[in-house]
Amino acid sequence: EPEVTQTPSHQVTQMGQEVILRCVPISNHLYFYWYRQILGQKVEFLVSFYNNEISEKSEIFDDQFSVERPDGSNFTLKIRSTKLEDSAMYFCASSEDRGNEKLFFGSGTQLSVL
């Protein structure tokens, strides 16, 4: 069964450093998302991406965050200058097309900011 893959599974970084979280969505999917889950809290929407541009973003997704699809397979989330409160599990997801709400999630990247 096709799946969304994320790397790395764990990332430890120092406060103020830049991190890039990587995702390979399901190959025929066109709509991509990043969500995050702070330990013990809800899964929260960050951003959606369609047709090589941001479609929607939440209040969490401030100027420190950016997304990119650098090639035909990868979808990345960059945090420019990490803060302690950025520590969370970050999930990438994809769906077949705009209007198809069925999301497939990756296993996540656990980001720890020290």
């Binding site: 969304v4 969500y35 209007g99 069925k102």
Partner: protein, 114 residues
Amino acid sequence: GESVGLHLPTLSVQEGDNSIINCAYSNSASDYFIWYKQESGKGPQFIIDIRSNMDKRQGQRVTVLLNKTVKHLSLQIAATQPGDSAVYFCAELISGGGADGLTFGKGTHLIIQP
């Protein structure tokens, strides 16, 4: 603001019994609901969805019930197995343009007792 919530944070059932996980939603404009299962160390996995023009939908061993009058959603799992142990999230969406801003509840931890 309006949000999705869950009635019980932890539910413990005997293996082989049926389980019911409940969810209350308060956004009357939501018209699409999804149940996700999240096993330890993994991303949310789609279980079943339902649109607001339905009040019941069945899958393999799972049934989702929607009561729009009281804004209540439930997930029934029949003949629970050890592999059903996980955190279950309900999520809501105002559909029409994709899964931007899917709103998750906090989760119920289902524990299957041997």
